[in-house]
Amino acid sequence: MAIAKKAVVWGLFAAGGTLTSFIYPALIALFLLIATGNVPAGLQFEQFHTFAVSWLGKACLFIVLFLSLWHAAHRLRVVAHDFGIRKDKLVANTLYTVAAIGTVLAAFYLFSIS
């Protein structure tokens, strides 16, 4: 049902948007810190690996990646439309496939951290 699909997709977009708005500045700031050569203690292999091994850590990382990917995919679909690319079905399928691949990869990597 097309109606239902839009509601789900938008829900993911909204949740992802809220999450990224809150979390991404800190995430980007961490990348910035790493870029200066100062890797904080919590991101050294020992610490971060321990975090990623825990189920809580896995859950957090997965949710962040899952929602971010779907948020970006849906939004980029709208961006494409706004820039005159009218093949909505093709654009949507491509972007959501990318998000799905990312989600699967996230699950795979997280699952294999032990």
Binding site: F31, L61, L65, A72
Partner: protein, 131 residues
């Protein structure tokens, strides 16, 4: 009198150049590229983490450099001013809260978002060992 309505053409590719508020909207929406980028960058990091300590250290090393510093700094400001802050500003519109007869003022909700954001960011920094 015969009707002959004239339809003014709209460019599907450059319509946003017509007004400042449209340009701001487009800049806001383009932050989604950053979200996609950082998601995949994090995925790359995760794959290194899952592989070995050496791969993780190599990933960290690959993320160092002035070029990356500039990129992340610009991305941070762009994201803050065109995603995070606008999102907070629009939040009260999507979730109006009414107590009795009075609507909770938009500013209260917006400030609440800022506070939550600050607390969450500090928590993340603490987790990462920055603090």
């Amino acid at each position: 009198m015969s009707r002959n309505p004239y339809v003014r053409p709209v460019s599907t590719t450059t319509w946003y150049m017509r007004h400042g508020r449209y340009k701001v909207y487009v800049l806001r929406e383009l932050t989604s590229f950053l979200v996609m980028f950082y998601s995949f960058l994090t995925l790359v990091g995760l794959s290194a983490l899952a592989a070995s300590a050496e791969r993780w250290d190599a990933f960290l090393a690959s993320q160092q450099g002035t070029g990356m510093m500039v990129f992340h700094a610009v991305a941070l400001f762009y994201f803050l001013f065109f995603q995070t802050f606008p999102w907070f500003k629009l939040a009260p519109k999507a979730m109006p809260v009414q107590v009795g007869e009075k609507k909770v003022p938009d500013n209260t909700i917006i400030i609440g978002h800022y506070v939550a954001w600050a607390v969450l960011s500090l928590f993340i920094f603490w987790l990462a060992g920055v603090l």
